[in-house]
Amino acid sequence: MNKLYIYLLFSSLFVNDTDNQFIARQGQISFFSYTSVENIEAKNNQVLSILDVEKNEIAISMLMRAFTFKKDLMYEHFNESYIESDVFPKATFKGKIIEFEKNKKSQIKIIKGEITIHGISKEIDIKTTIDKTKNGYIIEGEVDLVVKDFNIKIPPILSKNIAKVVSVKFNFQYYPYE
């Protein structure tokens, strides 16, 4: 009897957990740096994110080397000099969606959380649009990041080529966790 109870308790916990979780294996993040000298744009189509609609939590993880640039030299500078991808291969975000309503068709909410780039963590607020789809959610939005907040050193000779504030766009399509 006891065993059965424990079994039921655990199985219900397990089912609940996956029921509330949604995954985006191929989320998109792009960033833009606009200066009078040149515009730099990079895209990453393989960003992982997990959304928990019971705890209102969101976690994002991405590979820095999966950002693609228009020029090879930009990719090289980004990974080798600025981000140091050998040492810090990933950027992550963990946050909570404030006052998230899981059954609402469309909502604009603030996600409060901590972003980690180049080994440096920072608290940020992100305004997002959350749409409910047939079997999941779509979350998208935009946030501005200050390059020097993340201890990214840009040599003076190139400082005119790279914006002080980089705008980051994201789009995640979540499906039920298999």
């Binding site: 191929q26 189509n45 993880s61 693609t68 020029k71």
Partner: protein
């Protein structure tokens, strides 16, 4: 004589523009005929990352790798096609984002089909990620 010289200058100019365009064009690198640094199957690759991510990164990241596996899913997202390969590790697979030139081959592929994919390994999240991938047609269709 002067006319000939002018033609020569023009020729040099066109040639240098051509070289410039080639060097600075936005095209993805073409690896279709490049020999891969490693040849592995999907399980070996994922296992390497699960066992020791740091070691696997040092070995495989930013290298051209040829992988054999079976298709779990074919996706088209954000103007890019990708193939996800199965593995014995229930939660993980290999995401292969294809070079745009390869999309035409997708119509011949379906779920659970065995394929050989070659691309640049980028690391591991829940899945191993490969970009700029090519399908090996000869081996795939035999």
């Amino acid at each position: 004589m002067i006319f000939k010289k002018k033609i020569l200058y023009l020729f040099i100019l066109i040639l240098s523009i051509g070289v410039f365009v080639l060097i600075f064009s936005n095209k993805e690198k073409n690896y279709a005929n490049t020999k891969p640094s490693f040849v592995v199957n999907s399980n070996e690759l994922i296992n390497a990352y699960i066992q020791d991510e740091e070691k696997a990164n040092a070995l495989y990241t930013d290298k051209l790798i040829e992988i054999s596996g079976t298709i779990k899913k074919i996706n088209y997202l954000n103007q890019k096609s990708s193939i996800i390969l199965n593995s014995d590790f229930n939660d993980s697979g290999i995401i292969c984002e294809l070079n745009n030139s390869e999309s035409s081959k997708l119509s011949k592929l379906s779920k659970n089909r065995k394929v050989i994919v070659k691309g640049i390994c980028k690391g591991f999240l829940k899945d191993v990620v490969l970009l700029n991938c090519y399908l090996d047609t000869i081996k795939t269709y035999e």
